[in-house]
Symmetry: C2
Subunit: 147 residues, 2 copies
Amino acid sequence: MAKSPSRNPPITEHLAYLLAQANREINRQLEARLRDEGVPVEQWRILKVLSDRKGHSMGELADAVLLNHPTLTKMIDRMVSDALVYRVQDPDDRRKVLMYSSDRGKALTERLNTLAMNQEAHIAKSYGDKATADLKRLLESLIDSAT
Amino acid sequence: MAKSPSRNPPITEHLAYLLAQANREINRQLEARLRDEGVPVEQWRILKVLSDRKGHSMGELADAVLLNHPTLTKMIDRMVSDALVYRVQDPDDRRKVLMYSSDRGKALTERLNTLAMNQEAHIAKSYGDKATADLKRLLESLIDSAT
DNA sequence: TTGAAAATATTGAATATTCAAGAATTGATG
DNA sequence: CATCAATTCTTGAATATTCAATATTTTCAA
């Protein structure tokens, strides 16, 4: 009897493991680039989301940047200390806090965008344009089908 | 003038972000399944690596399960308390500690394998066999090209 | 063979994250 | 309109992770 193909595969063949491994490696590389500005990846995501200049509530932000609420609150506290972002109470719903990027935050965001785009370019170069596009498409549809 | 395609894309189009998002979602689902046995994902990975019954040094393990050394040491401490694994000093190189799975650990590993394979099957079903296979292949080659 | 450098694992202090609870506001229902 | 439930954000305690330093053993060169 032939062996069934995915009967108890090694850890390295599990999708969850491959995702974790790829994520760790790419994140580590991005981190290394952002280190020039001394900013953690999560702060870059926050600044990037806020760069549309609309106010975003903490809940929205937490979803968008993949952090839970208390972690986001404390990270925002640090960014407020660094004068990168500021809080405004939402006049329409005073439970909410709307976050905005400061001028300093906006200037930093532009420098970070350059660094992040350097990484994307580097990946596209060594990994190939087609593979990169295919991978992005597959990841998007995985996320759609999984949520 | 036509807009250049990937000039300063939104965060949701960055490969690093898509990977983080997909990883978080799949990891969360796996976590939910493993919760039946009260075991964190990292411990499942450790047990799975140790299921080849060969001794693995802490360094090897740390690489394999994507944890850094001090974090692994402390997680192993907990697993030793739970009698899932045990330490043996490597007789050939006494700087090293070789880790082995206990009988209890092996029995747990089998139950966890079932849970993890349920998840893989569930993903393959909702996401499609071909997409799953394609995604795995692309992730493997990304990891190769990135490391 | 001896001493310095490298490799391996652990520890402790500093830092960060998470969980559970709390405060403030809004919505909804009788 | 009064009250109770739901939503939003923050806080504090418990837990986990990380960084730097340490101890031990091995390797290698002089």
